[in-house]
């Protein structure tokens, strides 16, 4: 594959799927006269270019151009009409995009998120702030950090998006050839990126000290906090992208031509799963046994019961502790069994890593999530949520070192935690607080964060196994998410509700990463 842009003349290369090694398409790497290139990239900055050849300027279409993905709709999991319908009505979204988008386009993430406009606003606002507003890091660095973060999960969607932006903001193209071309300082971020993405509990104050230690390539604390926020944001966003099966943008070829970086190395198998048709039938037959309607009823019933029981049932402290441990341990088995199941090619991991061309942005690609509660080992202390909360501690630290982001993140967390339409599938007027809390705390549980005032028995009651599988995959190994996983849980629920779940997972994950990183920084400070 021609990645580095070395061949000046038009050269063909083939894009292989990283999973199934099928040829996706032939890529032509054009070379343009340099002046042409620069002028068009200028155009790119301002709006969408329409055609590469004759730089015609868009005139008639007053609407924001919705980029058409290769497959139908912005998401491979969600039928196009679900998203687009919601979208065309929503002036508010368009407005938000105009206001906050950095690329000037309504990208697929935004389109899917626009199912929850309220949230979208805080999301875009905080993202815009960390990418574009006053901050300690220069703009290209921010995008490069985003690339590094997304690369940990092989999320080519985000990588491509930020490669574009990186160049637009004046980044040095050479850096895109891989980590060995970037300044040592950025390279040093690698370790923390790796830990944060997969095992945030391993971050210690020594890691922080190593980065901020005075020297040639040291990071100042505000810079570091900015970087950490970016990393956490993009790790979490990668979860969302995979979890919602976001399709690649339609017109990557344009930017592709300029930068000679293949944009679409998604294979259908990557996202929409092994084989759609077969899958659909699977879902239909296998899971159809359980009447899905009654499944929903059962869940509602359990919620009601839990709510009532609350007052009477008094679990002993020991019981509560064991419940947490159990939940923690159980999460071990959740995916390990399933991965095997959904990826019959067991060479999955190596395959992915070796062929994946995003690996040049990362080091130690083999490093992945490892269960917090390893079987038989108990040496890692549980993170007590009450001892280091976002509201009390995290916020203060973040806001002190990187002003105002604290408020934006705070608003976003609050928003996602409290977002509800009081509906569940076909039912209305349901208090979903419990369900939301269960989702949020379950994610934190997988990262070893424990809430003293939460009964982890609830998780077991409320989250069925298929949902747990999905949650674990999305938060810990997002790149392995398949359409089948997405489809197999909560089949009565609307897609917008599943997107809501994804938002919760994303924010919970981001908060967990931030808490660990910020705690380490706090310890470094004291």
């Amino acid at each position: 594959m021609n990645r580095g842009g070395s061949s000046p003349s038009a050269a063909a290369s083939y894009l292989l799927c990283t999973n199934c090694r099928k040829v996706l398409r032939k890529v032509w790497c054009h070379s343009f006269p340099s002046n042409f290139r620069s002028s068009s990239s200028l155009l790119l900055c301002n709006s969408q270019p329409t055609s590469t050849n004759n730089l015609q300027i868009f005139f008639k279409d007053k609407r924001i151009r919705v980029s058409q993905p290769l497959t139908r709709g912005p998401s491979a999991f969600i039928p196009e009409k679900e998203v687009v319908q919601a979208n065309t009505v929503d002036e508010r979204t368009n407005f938000l995009v105009e206001e906050y988008s950095t690329s000037g386009r309504l990208d697929n993430i935004t389109q899917v998120m626009s199912l929850h406009t309220q949230y979208l606003e805080s999301f875009l606002r905080s993202q815009f702030y960390m990418l574009r507003m006053d901050g300690p890091l220069p703009l290209p660095h921010r995008h490069y950090i985003a690339i590094m973060a997304a690369a940990r999960h092989q999320c080519s969607y985000l990588i491509n998006m930020h490669v574009d932006e990186f160049l637009k903001t004046g980044g040095i193209a050479e850096w895109l050839n891989g980590l060995q071309y970037v300044p040592q300082r950025l390279k040093n971020l690698n370790e923390i990126n790796k830990l944060l993405a997969h095992r945030p509990w391993l971050i210690t104050k020594e890691h922080i000290q190593k980065l901020v230690k005075t020297g040639e390539n040291n990071w100042s604390l505000p810079e570091l906090v900015h970087a950490v926020v970016l990393l956490a944001h993009y790790h979490a966003l990668a979860s969302f992208v995979f979890g919602s099966g976001i399709n690649p943008e339609r017109d990557p070829e344009i930017s592709n031509g300029f930068r000679l970086i293949p944009v679409n190395n998604f294979c259908v198998c990557d996202l929409a799963n092994d084989n759609n048709i077969e899958n659909a039938s699977l879902t239909g037959s296998n899971f159809g046994i359980v009447d899905s309607l009654s499944e929903l009823e059962a869940l509602m019933e359990r919620m009601k019961r839990l709510q009532e029981e609350r007052e009477d049932e008094e679990a002993s402290q020991e019981e509560m502790t064991t419940r947490f441990e159990k939940e923690k341990k159980e999460s071990l088995f959740v995916v390990s069994g399933d991965t095997f199941h959904s990826f019959p090619h067991s060479d999955f991991e190596d395959d992915m890593i070796i062929t994946s061309d995003v690996s040049r942005y990362i080091e130690d690609p083999g490093f992945g999530y490892e269960d917090f509660a390893r079987r038989g080992e108990e040496h890692l202390p549980t993170f007590r949520a009450q001892d280091y909360t976002w509201e009390n501690h995290g916020f203060s630290l973040v806001n002190r070192l990187y002003s105002d982001i604290g408020h934006l993140l705070d608003e976003k967390f609050r928003m996602v935690y409290n977002l509800t339409y009081n509906t569940m599938a076909t039912h209305e007027d349901v208090d979903t607080t419990m369900l939301r809390r269960a989702l949020f705390n379950y994610v934190h549980c997988m990262f070893g964060i424990r809430y003293d005032d939460y009964d982890y028995g609830e998780v077991n009651q409320l989250l069925e196994r298929s949902l747990k599988v999905y949650i674990k995959t999305v938060t810990c190994y997002p790149e392995r998410t398949t359409k089948r996983m997405y489809d197999s849980y909560w089949r009565q629920f609307k897609h917008s509700e599943k997107v809501h779940v994804n938002l919760l997972l994303m924010e919970a994950r981001m908060q967990a990463e931030l808490l660990y990183a910020l705690r380490a920084i706090t310890r470094h400070l004291t």
Partner: protein, 790 residues
């Protein structure tokens, strides 16, 4: 701490003695509370719950309330409170939402009394009623407050804040039925204990969570609140609407606040994060803490005054697993370390300084000129008799003004405005600038420009007048002679020098020359001339006596912005005289008398077959004739620039730098250039010469400088629809919720440069409009207007 003071206070029978002391706990503390008898303190945390006796010399562990092998979560305390009526009664709030009461009177080892498990989330705070023995109040993360009667098994009443988590609850000390609660969303609510249905009053106190509150022990209406927004606010609740009476800005989010007993305006605070100290503030002096306890190594989590009527003992527990007793007397007082003097130069040479009154009084005796030369304007702050630190705070402000006209910097302004820096051929620029300098009477500068022109442009065009002018003078007096003369006559000062110069005849031009020389010395020519008219004695005395004071206080030099330019002053008049009188471009002369560059001069001499004592004309002609590359001079020119800069005339240095551009830039290191640029820009901006400063920024090649214009540049725009200013972002109006400026070509929002036709007022992205108008002459909006792009 070396000297530990011991304080003994007699308080109605009981006597408190103690010193600053501490003890190690086994685990981080989350909260502390003091027993009514002021002799015991309870410390609670996630894995600690102990009672310590406060003895004279040390803390002694008295009781461990964590009993049982398996520590239950009920013991993981977020808060603890000791009943102020009953010495045996304690209550704790657990992180798992349980409220536990403890009765120390129980005979068994386990003192646990009651368990209330009504809250669903962490309980943040518990509070006993100050006078009622059995009433306990709790506030929890789940947004509810519950009131318990300890004689019953369940809560008596539940108060729903209808907003987010409750962070603190406090019974009013004076009003029997009232309690205040603070919330995570920034609200404070006031409740009547008898009316659980709704709160009596609610107001937003802080931006973000309000972590704590405390009622004033004496003043009925006062409530202090502390929040994540780093503020402590004191509210007067006695009025109809809660009124903010004081506001203290701290440096970190405020975790606890406690009024200091017996001191009406004092309160103690500690912070949630980052800052480990305990502060005591006087709310009337919100910027400097009255006292500061710096012992803790991690955040302080609990503070308590030992006795409700003793202001000198403060107890604090911390995450660093220590418990401290602080003595107010041992506290460090930041006020003492603060610098009470201030000094500032005005733009036109005025000097103001403020200092403690006492200090001024004594020092003015030492500096007679401070009084006799100018008439300082003297302010005295009105003293507030109630102010406890009135003695410290009273200060005197002195302002020394320059006599009108004397300190004018008009030459600087004129020069800045009239210099041409770019846009014309080098020769013209040099000529123009030389002319400007000459018209302003700065002949030396003019000469420099002329010389630059000679060096870098063809020799034939040099206007002869200039050269004649300098040559004529050059012949009158030789270099060595002048040198010795100056050394001898340094002492009389500048004024007498002028006279000496005059005595040489050639009066007119020489004084003018001296003027310009003075410019180079101190950046203020007229001032120096003025000095020459004034009797010289004061100057003389100053120069001989206290040089340092001279720079600081002598208003003569007040308007030089950078004192460091003034400092070398005495060294330079010498050289200056030399430079000015002999003929020739002073960079050459400069070389001649400064030893460290004589090497290069020697080189020049060896290359050019003329001897080094030649007259200027011959030099320049000889050099030009031999067609030496201008590069040959660049070292000299650079030295010349450095010379000017050192003299304080950065204007000249920067102007030359810009005009010559690439020719010299590479020879001066980037940092020096940057320094010159910033100094000059700073000066220009002080004189409000925005245009010039902008031009300089634009013309500079230094990266750090040219980006000055890009950073923090705010353009305020109004919405084109509602005509209101758009505050947050320039392209979206918050009020009418629409995007303001759309590109007529691509119909997208223009977030950067917006170019529009003045005829039809349509416009858009710069590139788009440019592109469009290449192909069409009509307006892209289709209005039919024939737009032009120029």
């Amino acid at each position: 701490m070396e000297k530990m003071s011991r304080v003994t206070t007699a308080l109605g029978g009981s006597v408190l003695t103690g010193r600053t002391m501490h003890c190690h706990l086994d685990a981080p503390a989350n909260a502390i509370s003091v027993c009514r008898d002021a002799a015991q303190v309870v410390v609670a945390g996630r894995s600690i719950f102990k009672i310590y006796a406060i003895e004279e010399e040390q803390f002694v562990e008295k009781l461990n309330l964590r009993v049982g092998r398996k520590p239950s979560l009920n013991l993981s305390c977020a808060d603890v409170v000791w009943h102020q009526m009953d010495e045996n009664l304690l209550a704790t709030a657990a992180t798992n939402g349980v409220v536990v009461t403890w009765n120390l009177g129980r005979p068994s080892r386990n003192k646990q009394d009651q368990l209330f498990t009504e809250h669903k989330r962490t309980v943040n705070k518990v509070c006993f009623h100050p006078t009622e023995a059995h009433v306990l109040l709790s506030g929890s993360q789940d947004g509810f407050m519950k009131c318990f009667d300890l004689r019953r098994k369940d809560s008596v009443s539940t108060f729903s804040g209808q907003s987010e988590s409750v962070r603190d609850v406090q019974f009013s000390i004076r009003d029997y039925f009232t309690f205040a609660s603070t919330f995570e969303n920034g609200n404070v609510q006031l409740w009547d204990i008898r009316r659980p249905d709704r709160c009596e009053r609610m107001f937003t106190a802080h931006n973000g969570p309000v972590f704590c509150c405390d009622w004033h022990p004496e003043d009925r209406g006062w409530l202090a609140t502390g929040g994540r927004d780093k503020m402590v606010k004191v509210w007067d609740m006695a009025t109809h609407r809660a009124k903010e009476v004081h506001c203290v800005q701290t440096i970190a989010s405020v975790a606890r606040v406690k009024w200091r007993p017996e001191c009406r305006h004092h309160l103690a605070t500690c912070s949630m994060m980052v800052d480990h100290n305990v502060y005591v503030w006087d709310v009337r002096r919100p910027f400097v803490p009255a006292a500061m306890f710096e012992e803790h190594r991690d955040v302080t989590t609990g503070i308590a005054w030992r006795h409700p009527h003793d202001p000198s003992f403060l107890l604090s527990g911390s995450k660093d697993s220590t418990l401290y007793q602080h003595l107010f007397r041992d506290a460090s007082q930041p006020v003492e370390r603060a610098n009470p003097e201030g000094l500032c130069y005005g733009l036109f040479g005025d000097l103001a300084f403020a200092a403690k009154e006492s200090l001024v009084a004594t020092e003015s005796g030492r500096k007679p000129y401070a009084g006799d030369r100018r008439h300082p304007i003297f302010f005295k702050r009105k003293l507030d008799p109630a102010e406890p630190f009135a003695g410290l705070a009273s200060s005197a402000l002195n302002v020394f003004e320059i006599e009108p006209g004397s300190g004018s910097m008009s030459w600087f302004v004129d020069t800045a405005e009239r210099y041409a820096l770019a846009g014309r051929p080098l020769a013209e620029l040099c000529d123009h600038n030389a002319k400007v300098a000459r018209e302003l009477g700065r002949n030396q500068v003019a000469q420099t420009w002329t010389m630059l022109r000679i060096i870098y442009c063809s020799p034939g065009l040099v206007p002869t007048t200039n050269l004649n002018h300098s040559m004529g003078k050059g012949s009158s007096c030789g270099l060595p002679l002048m040198n010795s003369f100056n050394l001898k006559d340094m002492a009389p000062g500048l004024g007498s020098e002028t006279r000496l110069d005059r005595s040489k005849g050639d009066t007119r031009s020489d004084t003018v020359l001296l003027d310009s020389s003075a410019t180079l010395i101190t950046n203020e020519d007229n001032e120096e001339t003025e000095g020459s008219d004034v009797p010289t004695d004061y100057l003389l005395g100053d120069v001989e006596g206290e040089d340092d004071e001279l720079y600081l206080l002598d208003p003569e030099h007040a308007h030089s912005e950078e004192p460091e330019y003034v400092l070398p002053q005495e060294a330079f008049p010498l050289r200056h005289e030399i430079v000015d009188t002999p003929p020739g471009p002073e960079h050459l002369q400069d070389k001649a008398d400064s030893p460290h560059v004589s090497g290069s001069e020697a080189d020049a001499a060896s290359l050019v077959p003329v001897d080094s004592s030649f007259s200027l004309i011959s030099v320049s002609h000889a050099l030009c004739d031999s067609r030496l590359p201008p590069d040959f001079f660049s070292a000299l020119v650079c030295d010349m620039l450095r010379f000017y800069a050192e003299q304080g005339d950065v204007q000249m240095a920067v102007s030359v730098l810009i005009v010559l551009g690439e020719r010299v830039r590479k020879d001066i290191d980037e940092q020096t250039q940057e320094h010159w640029y910033t100094s000059y820009i700073d000066l220009l901006q002080r004189f409000c010469l925005w245009n010039v400063s902008n031009q300089v920024v634009k013309l500079s090649t230094s990266r750090a400088i040219s980006c000055l214009n890009q950073a923090s540049t705010t353009l305020h725009v109004n919405c084109s629809h509602c005509k209101r200013p758009m505050s947050s972002r320039g392209w979206v109006c918050d009020r009418c919720r629409r995007c303001a400026s759309m590109c007529a070509v691509c119909h997208h929002v223009v977030k950067g440069l917006f170019v529009w036709c003045q005829g039809c007022s349509h416009g858009g992205h710069l590139q788009h409009i440019m592109k469009w108008l290449e192909g069409s002459s009509h307006c892209p909006a289709g209005c039919g207007h024939l737009c032009e792009y120029s």
